[in-house]
Structure formats: structure tokens, C-alpha cells
């Protein structure tokens, strides 16, 4: 009998910083959760959404998956907030963001500017004021963010799919071939070299004429559309 359950494969790559290693793990997990178990079947992320039970969806993971990874998967599969997707700060952001030093609300110049604009405005009453804030949150969720390498927080939240997983493998293998064993003066120098290579790589056109960013954005948009369909079928949002 063929076991068609999703598997977590381990590969060895050179990475510039310890924290990037941790984020690389999240990225792989995000890819796994978005991979359909079989062609035409839902992914674990979609199963969690449609069943309303993360635990039930995670039964699809092979039994050998350790509790630590299951716990991390639970975190990633938590329902999205109705307000601002602050969970995006804690996601990997995929191959385009996996090496970016971690950042959050304190560093988010975009959100800070939006809030400053909102605070400086006069509103008819508190209700109008709160509605304007909610509109801003929605705007933040869906607008490409400069610190997410041009992905929107929603696109970060949804995670990457199989195409991005392949692209990520390609880049990581290239990175490893190039820098494994190279002496670097500092972790920062290794990081700058890695990011320079990444931005060069993502700017190359592929055989179909698209750039890496375009492929990744298209796939993440497709995953969001599937997510929206599942939610629609459930007759409400979670």
C-alpha cells in the first residue's frame, strides 16, 4: 500500500544566519501545509479551514512528525483575525523573505505612518473613527508591503505553494553550491551576500517570461482564492 500522506523531507543547505535557519523550517512547514495530499484533494490548510478543526486536519500528518512541529503547524493554521493580520510578522514570508532579519510592529514604518495619518484626522464620532481604523487594517492586509519584499500581509499569511517550494529549493541549492565552506568575516557579511544573490536571482526571467516574484505572487493569490472559496462554501468567514 502506498502511503500518500504528506511527508516532511529534510535537506541540508548552507544558510547565512541561525535565525534564517529557524525561518527556513517555518517556510518548509508552510509549503507542506499548502500541498494537496493528492491531486485534486484539499491541502491540510484547506482541511483545517473546512472542518474548523486544526487537530483533525493535522491527523493527515505522518505519525512520525514530532510534537514540536505539530505545535508549530497548529500556530500556522490558527484562524486569521478579522482585523489586521499581525500574524504575518511571525510567518516566514517564503523564499523572498526567509533571510530578512525578523521584524514586527515596532519596525513597521508603513503601519506607523497609516496610524499617524488616522490619528491626525478628525472624525464625526467614535464609531466613524473606529470604522476608519478597520478600513486601514484591511488596507494594510492587502497592500504589498515593502518589508515583505512586495508581498501583502495576506499573501504572507497564506504561505507558499508547490511552485514556490521548487523555486526555493533551486535557490537554496544554488546558494549552498556558491557559499558553503566560504569564509565570511561576519554573519552580517554572509547575510548581505545572500540577500544580494537572492534579489539577483528573483529578478531573472524564467522560461515562461515571468520573474520569480510574479510566479510566487500568482501562486499565493491562487491559494488565497481557494481559501476564499472554502470560506464561501462554509457560508461565513472565520
Amino acid at each position: 500500500m502506498v502511503d500518500s500522506r504528506p511527508t516532511l523531507t529534510t535537506k541540508s543547505y548552507w544558510i547565512p544566519t541561525k535565525v534564517a535557519g529557524e525561518r527556513l523550517f517555518w517556510m518548509s512547514l508552510e509549503f507542506s501545509l499548502n500541498r494537496p495530499l493528492k491531486k485534486g484533494q484539499p491541502s491540510i490548510a484547506e482541511m483545517a479551514l473546512s472542518s474548523g478543526s486544526v487537530d483533525e486536519a493535522l491527523l493527515g500528518l505522518p505519525s512520525v512528525v514530532p510534537p514540536k512541529i505539530r505545535k508549530e503547524a497548529q500556530r500556522l493554521l490558527r484562524p486569521w483575525l478579522d482585523s489586521r493580520y499581525t500574524g504575518a510578522y511571525g510567518r516566514s514570508g517564503g523564499i523572498l523573505n526567509v533571510f530578512t532579519p525578523p521584524w514586527g510592529e515596532l519596525q513597521d514604518e508603513v503601519w506607523a505612518e497609516m496610524v499617524a495619518g488616522w490619528e491626525s484626522k478628525a472624525f464625526a464620532d467614535d464609531r466613524a473613527r473606529q470604522e476608519a481604523l478597520r478600513a486601514l487594517e484591511r488596507q494594510w492586509n492587502t497592500t504589498p508591503h515593502p518589508f515583505f519584499a512586495g508581498l501583502s500581509p495576506a499573501q504572507v499569511m497564506v504561505g507558499g505553494g508547490p511552485q514556490e517550494a521548487e523555486l526555493a529549493d533551486e535557490f537554496l541549492e544554488h546558494l549552498t553550491r556558491l557559499y558553503d565552506g566560504c569564509p565570511f568575516e561576519s554573519e552580517g557579511q554572509a547575510l548581505v551576500k545572500t540577500l544580494t544573490l537572492l534579489r539577483r536571482w528573483q529578478s531573472q526571467r524564467r522560461k515562461d517570461g515571468r520573474m520569480v516574484l510574479e510566479i510566487i505572487v500568482a501562486e499565493r493569490n491562487e491559494l488565497m482564492a481557494r481559501r476564499a472559496r472554502v470560506l464561501h462554501e462554509l457560508g461565513g468567514s472565520r
Partner: protein
Amino acid sequence: MSRKSREGKRRRQARSGQQPPTVRVSSEYRRNIRQADDILSKEGIEIQPDNWQQLALDWFAPQEPERSELARYIADHAHRLGIPWARELLRLEVFFQGEDYEQIIAHHERAFSRYPRCALVEMWVADQVFRHAGDFWRARQMYRYAIEHFPTHVKPHYELGFMSYLLGDFVGALGWFDHAAERVADDDVEMAARILYNRGIVRYLVEGDSKAAITDMEQALKHKPDYPQAKEALCGLRGKMSWVPW
């Protein structure tokens, strides 16, 4: 102006005491401070009430526009500075010349937190925080502070452009490189060439404007004719060879 232009004898002396990049413990920090003091002493430096300002300027900011900026800072905060501050600044300079980035960062954290923030010092230390410690977000704040208080200097604009590029924010990078291009001095050929090269690349990525990118590359090569990356990019932009940005 690059700090590397000020390398020399003192740098070699400081280098001899350089440690491998490991986590610095307090005793190691103190040992490096003693080494820096030895170097200053061998240079015949005696910081006195009547020369601390002059020494700070001559050692840390010998050239314009940094010198005027530091002079302005000293004038604004003279009552809080004085000999102890000048000693810390000269030590910092020794660590810069030794290119000991860990000690630069450690010394900045330990010694300067008790003084008013200095845009010039932050600008130079930010480079180490950014390019060696890899702490982009802290460096970003430092560069922004430098821009706020020393808006005419080209360096923080250029560095924020490069950082934006690394973050994958090409639009943001283009804006910073534009600001840098407006500020760079004609005789700062190295910086001018780098700004124009980088701006050309980012402009091509953001706008697909190969004409404007070609102009930037040509200008970069005018400033620095021996610039292989700019030559390669120019050939690529003119369609003479297979080429990808960066």
C-alpha cells in the same frame, strides 16, 4: 568619503590586537580598550581641557562635511561632553581603523549611551551594525536618525537604498538612491559611481526603463571608468549580452 581612506599606521597597530569574531566578554572588551589607549599613548595623544575638542575633530572627522557636523554637535552639547567623551571617541576611532566591528558596536553601546546621540557617530557605527552584525532594523533607525540631523550627507541615503534593495523593496531603494544622487559631491567619485550604478539597476527593475538605466551606467563610468560591474551592466542593457540585474 569612506573611512577606509583614513587607514594607515594606526590601523595596522590596532589590527595586531584584533580578536576572532566571537562573543565578547567584558574582560576582552576591557583588554581592547587598554590596547586602544596604548595606541593613543604611542601617538602622543594627551587629552586636555584645552584640546579635547580639537582632538575629537582631527581624529574622528578630519574632512568636510563631517568635520562641520561634529563641530556643531560639540558646540550644542559642550557642557555634557568634555575630556571623557573625547577619550571614548578617540578609542572608537582606533577600533574603526582596526576594522574591529564587534568592538566598535560594543564600545558604542557601552560608552556613548550616556551622551546625547551624535548623528555622525551613529552614521558610521550603523555601517557595522548593518553590514557586519546584520541587524538591519537597528541600523535602519540609526541611519534615519543620521538623516534627520545631518540631512545633507549622502551616506545614510545610499545605505538605506542598499538596505531597501536587500529587503526586496526596489521602489523604496530607487527613492533613496535618488536622494543620494542629489547629495553626492562631484569629487566623491567612488560614491557617485556606486549610487548611479545601483540606481540604474533598480530603475530598470522597477520601471523597465533601459534608457534611463543606460544613462545612469554611463554616468557611473564617467565617474569611475574602471568599474567592471557597470561595464557589464551597460553591455547587458544595450542588449549585447545575456545579463541579469545584479
